[in-house]
Amino acid sequence: MAILDRIKPDFLKSRNISTGPFRQMFNYSRIWRWAMLLTALVTLLPLVLITTLDYQVTRKSIESEHLLRTLRVGSNAKRTISYFLSERVSALSFIVRAKTYEELNDPDELAALLQNLRESFGGFVDLGVIDNSGVQTAYAGPYALQGKDYSDQEWCKEVRDKGFFISDVFLGFRKVPHLVISVRHTRPDGSCYILRTAIETQKFNEILTALELSGRGDAFLINRQGVIQTPTRYQKAIFEKIPYQVPEFSEHTEIREDTNPEGQPVIICSAYIPDSPYILIILKHKNDMMQSWNQTRIKLIGFLAISITVILLAIFAFTTYFVNNMYLADERRLMTLHEMEYSNKLASIGRLAAGVAHEINNPLAIINEKAGLIKDLFTYTDSYSADTRIMGLIDSVLSSVERCGIITKRLLGFARHMEGTLESISIGNIISEVLGFLHKEAEYRNISVMVNLDPTIPEFTSDRGKLQQILLNIVNNAFAAMAIGGRLKIDARKDNAGQISVSIADNGCGMTEEELGKIYEPFYSTKTKTGGTGLGLSITYGLVQDLGGRIKVASKKGEGTTFTIVLPLQPPTTTGK
C-alpha cells in the first residue's frame, strides 16, 4: 500500500475542496479518466479494426490458398488415374483390333500377349477371351478359368452394351484387391467377343500415396456407393463404406467442407474418374491445413497485445503527467490565493492593531503624565514623599502604564513589519518578541520556555516580519501540541557553514511518519476541529524559502517535535520584493 501511495499521482490523493470561495478549477480525477478513455479509444480503435481486418483477410487468403492447392492436387490425381485406366483400355482395344479371334484363342499367342502387357504396362494379372455366349474360350494367367461361363454376370451384359467395362475393385481368388477391364470387339461376321483382363490395384495405390498431403491428409478411391476401393491412411479399411455423404456427380473436381465422425471440420475434395465407377477422394483436416495460419494468428494477436500494452502504458504515463501538472498548477494558484487572503488578513489585523495602539497611546500618555505629576507633587512635598504606600500605589500605576505602552508598541511593531523590508536583525530580539506574544499563555498553562542563545551569532540581514511570522507559527504549533506543564526549548546557534540555525523543540504529542509527510501540504491540519486552517506550516515553509533558508522537522509520536530553521546571513536578492 505504501508503494502504491508513493506512485499515486497527487490529484488522486487530494481531498476535493468543495466549499469556500477557493475551489479547484476542475475535477482532475474525472479529467484524467476521460482523457485516458478517449485517448485510448482514438488510438486503439483503428489499431484493433485494422488488425481484425488483416486477421480476416489473411485467414481467408491462407484458407483459399490451401483449398486451391488441394483442388489442384485432386485434379492432377484425377487425370493420372483416368489416364492409367484409359491407357489399359486402349491397350486391350489395340489387341482386339490387331489380332484375329483365332489368334487370340491360341494359348501361346495369348500367353505372349499377356507377357508383353506385363512388361509394357505392368499390373496385368491375366488375359482371357470370352465368346459371344459368355464362355471364356481362352485364358492366360495363374488360374484355371478356361471354360468359365460369365454369361449371367452383370458386367458381361454391360460390356456388350457399352463396348468396354471397368469393374469395382474386388478381392477375387487370390484375395488380392484387383479390378477387371473388359473390351468388346465385333468380328467381320457380326458376332462379337470380349477380351478381359484383371489388373492389380497396386499401381493405383502408388499414384495415391505419391500425393503430397500434409498432416492427416488422405487420398483414396470410392465407388459410386461410397465403398472404399483403395487402402487409406486414416480412414476405414478397404471395402468399407466412408462415413461421409457420397459426392454428387460433377464433371469437375469439387471441394466441400464437412465434419468427421469426431465432429472435427474436414475438407473433402472429390473428382469423378471418367468412364469408371471410381470417385477420387482427397480428405484433409481443416485444423492441419490451417496450421500455418495458427502461427501467423499467434504472431498477429501477440503483436496486437504488445501494441495495446505499450500504447496504454504511454497513454497512462502522458495523461497522468499532464493532468498532474495541471493539478499542481491549480494547487499553486489556490495556494497563492490563500496566501494573499492570509496576507490581507494579517495586514487588516496589523492596521487594526496600529489603530487601536494609537488610540490607546494618547489616553495612556495622559494617565502616565497625570500619575507622574501626582508622584512629582508628592516627591516635592515633604509630608508625602515619606509615605511609602502612596508612592507604591503611584509607582504601580506608572508600571502598569509602562506595560500597556510595551504592548501597544509591540502591536505597532507587528503592523509595521507586515510590509516586508530587509533590515539588520538580532535573532535574540526576534525570539523575545515572539515569546512576548505568548508569555501569558505560557504562564496560564505552566509551560516552561528555555532559550539558549549562542553569543557569537552576529546581527544579520533579513525580513523581520517574515521571520517573526515563521517563529510565531512554529511556537504556536508547539504550544498547541503541548499539554499543561510542557517544555519548550529554543536553541539558536551559528553553524559551521556560517548560517544561523534555530531549533524549536517541544515535548508535545508528536506526529506519525504519515502525518510528518503531509505537514507542509496546504489545507492539511490535525486541528481542523479547533479552527486550524492547515495553512500555517505551508506558509511557514514558503516564508523560510523566501528568506533563502531551509526548514527541517523531526518528530516521534508521543514524545515531541523539533523544527530546525537554517537561515543565511544574507538573504537571496529576490527577498523583500
Binding site: A354, N361, N362, L364, A365, N368, G372, D376, L377, R416
Partner: protein, 118 residues
Amino acid sequence: MRILLVDDETEFVATLAERLSLRSMAVDYATTAQEALALIEEHAYDLAVLDMKMPGTSGLELQSTLKERCPAMKFIFLTGHGSETDYITGSSEASSYLVKPVAIDILIAKIKEALGKW
C-alpha cells in the same frame, strides 16, 4: 533655557509642562500650531517637543515653520503612532522620536542630549 511643548491633547501637554516646570525648566505649551506660532513671537525657545499628528497640521510642517523663525531651535517628536524608527523620513532636524507614553526620565535625557548641556 526655554522649552515649547506642542500637542493637541491639552490634558497631556499641560501635565507634562507642569512636570517639567517642577524640574526647574522654563516651559510653555500650545495645543495648536497657531498658539505655538504666537508663543514663539513672545519668547525665544531653545527646544520644541512636537506631536507628530495634530488637527490641521503635522509635527513636521510645524517644525519647518518654526525652523524658519528660529534656525537654532532643536526638536523632539512625540507620537502615538509607532516605534521610534517609524518616522525617520529624512528630516535630520529632529533630535529624537519618542513614542507615547514616554517616561519623564527618558524625555529629560533626550532634552539634555539635544541641547548638549545640563
